[in-house]
């Protein structure tokens, strides 16, 4: 006979679970900071030399003394470990430093473009999540049915379309030919639609595939047969039981998708001439603008790990089995 857990017994494992998830969050962010820092500052190439080279385009050079002075000015002369710790401390305090290239505080540069990227990524997810859920639900309604056979390959097809090509196609049709939306900039809602769709489609392909697979799998579980045998209508079995049980992998992937969406903004923002973190990242990497690259990397890590933290914390609420001690899930 199994003992029903009392309230007190249930609290500790859940608390431990929550604390562990916060720990993972911190580890991911710190790891990204460390890796980005090492890539940017421990490599032999000199960001000051790159900055000066770009500014002069070869018309007149700077003396080694001037370069040394500038390195000092940007704090590049300190030992690596000192900079590593110091910069992390300042990041925690919200001081992101100053861009080598533009002389602008990194916080201002990020502040100017991050809302655009968050709006784009948010809109893309708002399109991708319902779209993929709907597509998967429709496809898997009857495993092996005509609809299933017709739609099952749609995600693979969508995933095979190159993102920039899709973007250009959308631009050509809806901006340049039909003139429904402006081709560049994309301030306001009208400008957000096309890039959001272009970003959402490839993302929803993966989500659809996973949810479809998981719906198909759950349908084969014995409890579904049992529910049907007891006379429950298929619609109720499918939506209330199959779909709910198939949701967890979908949710996990949705969390990981945030990373994919953020990465996708690089191409989408370029094709649609939108300002955003993706564009800023590309231009900063090209010229080794280390403070900007580092800040974007850490920001991306915080958003990505943060979303996954939220989803991890949602698990126990969505699936009562996870809350039960000894289920092995609260590990």
């Amino acid at each position: 006979m199994t003992k029903q857990p009392t309230g007190a017994d249930a609290v500790w494992p859940v608390l431990g679970y929550v604390l562990r998830r916060f720990g993972y969050f911190a580890v991911v962010v710190l790891a990204v900071y460390t890796l980005a820092f090492l890539l940017l500052y421990a490599l032999p190439s000199d960001p000051v030399a790159v900055m000066l080279d770009r500014r002069s385009s070869g018309a007149g050079g700077s003396t080694p003394e001037q370069i040394a002075e500038l390195r000092e000015r940007y704090g590049l002369d300190e030992p690596l470990l000192v900079r590593y710790a110091g910069m992390f401390g300042r990041l925690l305090g919200g001081d992101l430093g100053v861009s080598f290239q533009s002389g602008q505080p990194v916080r201002d540069a990020l502040g100017a473009v991050a809302p655009n990227t968050l709006a784009l990524a948010g809109a893309a997810l708002l399109i991708a999540l319902p779209l993929s859920a709907l597509l998967a639900l429709v496809t898997s309604w009857r495993a092996g049915g005509v609809v299933h056979r017709l739609l099952v390959n749609v995600p693979a097809f969508i995933a095979a379309i190159p993102a920039f090509w899709l973007g250009l196609l959308l631009l050509q049709v809806f901006s340049f030919s039909l003139r429904w939306v402006p081709p560049a900039g994309g301030t306001g809602l009208a400008g957000l639609v096309l890039p959001a769709v272009a970003l959402a489609l490839p993302v929803s392909a993966a989500l659809t595939a996973v949810l479809m697979r998981s719906l198909d799998d759950v349908q084969r579980a014995p409890f579904v047969t049992l529910l049907s045998a007891r006379g429950l209508r298929w619609r109720r079995v499918y939506l209330a039981h199959v779909a709910r049980n198939a949701l967890l992998p979908f949710l996990t992937l949705a969390g990981l998708t945030v990373g994919g969406v953020m990465a996708g903004t690089v191409i989408t923002e370029t094709v649609f001439s939108r300002s955003g973190l993706g564009r800023l990242l590309v231009s900063s990497v090209e010229v080794q603008d280390a403070p900007v690259v580092l800040a974007i990397a850490v920001f991306g890590a915080v958003v990505f790990a943060g979303m996954n933290l939220v989803i991890d914390l949602l698990y126990p609420l969505l699936d009562p089995r996870i809350r039960r001690p000894g289920s092995g899930v609260l590990a």
Partner: protein, 532 residues
């Protein structure tokens, strides 16, 4: 300014756009007569022209310079300075500043402001943040206001290029308010000038908006226009993808687009209302710089064999499109110090082979020459921007050089790696385009081993001396003779291998008139531009 256009994958892109039948109509941007919308690929990382060569187009519109260059005659003419005098053999320059000129913040232009401009530039140069004006100010001692309208700039030694430098945007005169800013602030905020336009709004990676400066009335005569700019406003829209820039011009969203390559041109084919405009370059052409301290390349025979072993005509016609011409000298043909040296650069593989034979480089079993046990292997470093063209072109050069027994190894690097290799002197051949400057000092900055940023070049006394001497020779004819002598020596000794000259290619709607590029291809004088 040297910046190669690039695309995500131009060919596939063009195909996509052709498939969708880029027909479309006009209007939107074009229908507004007073406003010009220009599509450009890159947002400026720095708004201060003195600190940032690559973004000339943004700075130039708000700035005036002391002098201007007549695009027809090349003569130096008044601009913010009414008149000037060269004293003490080019050690002292006196400018009489024009009356009643104001900056866009209301501050007045005086001799003192001009003197402060030069002093500030010299200080920025000393800090190392503005290398180009630093080069223009070589030998600067001080600048002072003699009276309300006269400013005197004094050099420790003659600076023959100084007058021409005063036509370049890096010497744009800025307001006292901007002079008081730190270099970082100047970059981030931009500088306040007296030019025909004022920045109205700058949105990171999206666009920069300019409005016409009310009451502007001091354009140089050669601009052929007086009073305010013809356009009420200008938008420079940042459109990173070339195919989108081209499609935007075709659809009428943009009046003109910069940095167009063959794929953009084919998009625009068949559209009668769109013209292809070539904005000529005026600088040291694309070339191979040579590390002359390298044991193999120290041998003049090897360098000369390279000089005559590359078929520039075929390289250009096969791998580059409109706007690219084979080099016939060290600088662009529109450069005031251009001399045609096509003969010294002619393709003659027989000659190359003979030179190598005579120098004792003997062909080995694999066709690659050997001398004293050393194979004739040379590494070519180039920055990989374009996905296709660049690398393919160098592969072609590789095969041509293999014909004469030279093994060329291709080494594609990033911008940052290139800077590292260069400063460390750890390179053999590299592909570089010199900065655009319409003065002999631009040649000197590239080919004098005392001035070049390409470390590792052994001093070449005869050329270095000539280039130093021309920099302090004020007499135009004497100066020209010195430069010609230096250039001939550079090409004969093959201290550099000029390859091709590339103009900027633009797509322009036919509603745009009076578009000119008197200083260089990156500085259209939008003040003159009209729309109809």
């Amino acid at each position: 300014m040297t910046r190669a256009p690039r695309g995500l994958a131009a060919a596939a892109t063009a195909a996509a756009l052709v498939l969708t039948g880029c027909g479309a109509g006009q209007d939107s941007a074009s229908s507004d007569d007073g406003h010009l919308t220009l599509a450009y690929g890159w947002y400026p990382t720095c708004f201060d022209y003195a600190q940032s060569n690559p973004f000339a187009i943004f700075g130039r519109q708000v700035l005036d310079t002391l002098l201007s260059e007549n695009p027809g005659t090349g003569a130096i003419e008044p601009y913010l300075a009414e008149s000037w005098e060269v004293l003490d053999d080019g050690r002292v320059y006196e400018f009489t500043v024009r009356d009643s000129v104001t900056f866009s913040n209301g501050e007045e232009l005086t001799a003192q402001v001009v003197a402060d401009n030069f002093e500030t530039l010299a200080r920025l140069a000393e800090q190392g943040v503005s290398p180009t004006p630093g080069a223009y100010l070589r030998g600067f001692d001080h600048a002072q206001a003699v009276d309300e309208r006269t400013v005197r700039v004094v050099f420790a030694e003659p600076n023959a290029g100084f007058l021409q430098a005063n036509t370049e945007g890096q010497f744009g005169i800025i307001a006292p308010e901007s002079l008081a800013r730190t270099p970082e602030q100047r970059c981030a905020e931009g500088t306040i000038g007296s030019g025909p336009f004022v920045v109205d709004e700058a949105v990171q990676d999206e666009r920069v908006e300019y409005v016409r400066r009310d009451g502007y009335d001091w354009a140089p005569e050669s601009f052929g226009r007086t009073g305010e700019a013809a356009l009420e406003g200008v938008t420079i829209q940042i459109v990173p993808e070339e195919s989108v820039r081209a499609a935007g011009v075709i659809a009428g969203d943009y009046d003109l687009a910069y940095s167009i390559t063959q794929s953009g041109l084919s998009q625009a084919e068949g559209h009668d209302d769109i013209a292809t405009v070539l904005a000529p370059n005026r600088g040291v052409v694309n070339n191979f710089v040579i590390n002359t301290t390298d044991p193999i390349l120290a041998d003049v025979a090897v360098r000369q064999a390279l000089q005559h072993g590359i078929d520039r005509e075929e390289l250009v016609s096969t791998f580059y499109g409109a706007g690219v011409e084979p080099a016939t000298g060290v600088v662009s043909s529109g450069h005031p110090f251009y001399t045609d040296h096509a003969d010294l650069l002619r393709y003659d593989p027989g000659l190359s082979r003979g030179i190598l034979d005579d120098a004792g480089w003997v062909e080995g079993a694999d066709g690659i020459r050997v001398k004293d046990g050393r194979r004739l292997e040379i590494a070519l470093t180039f920055v990989g921007l374009d996905i296709g063209t660049a690398a393919a072109g160098w592969e072609y050069v590789q095969s041509r050089l293999a014909d004469i027994g030279v093994a060329l190894e291709l080494n594609q690097v990033s911008d940052a790696e290139q800077v590292d290799l260069r400063t460390a002197g750890d390179w053999q051949l590299a592909v570089v385009q010199g900065a655009a400057r319409g003065d002999a000092d631009g040649i000197a900055a590239f080919y004098s081993t005392e001035l070049t940023t390409w470390a590792g070049q052994a001093p070449r006394p005869e050329v270095d001396e000539l280039l130093a001497l021309q920099a302090s020779t004020v007499d135009p004819d004497q100066r020209r003779a010195l430069v010609d002598e230096a250039v001939a020596a550079i090409l004969e000794q093959a201290y550099g291998i000029p390859l091709f000259d590339s103009a900027q290619v633009l797509l322009v709607r036919d509603s745009v008139a009076e578009l000119t590029f008197p200083v260089n291809s990156w500085e259209p004088i939008l003040y003159r531009v009209e729309k109809g």
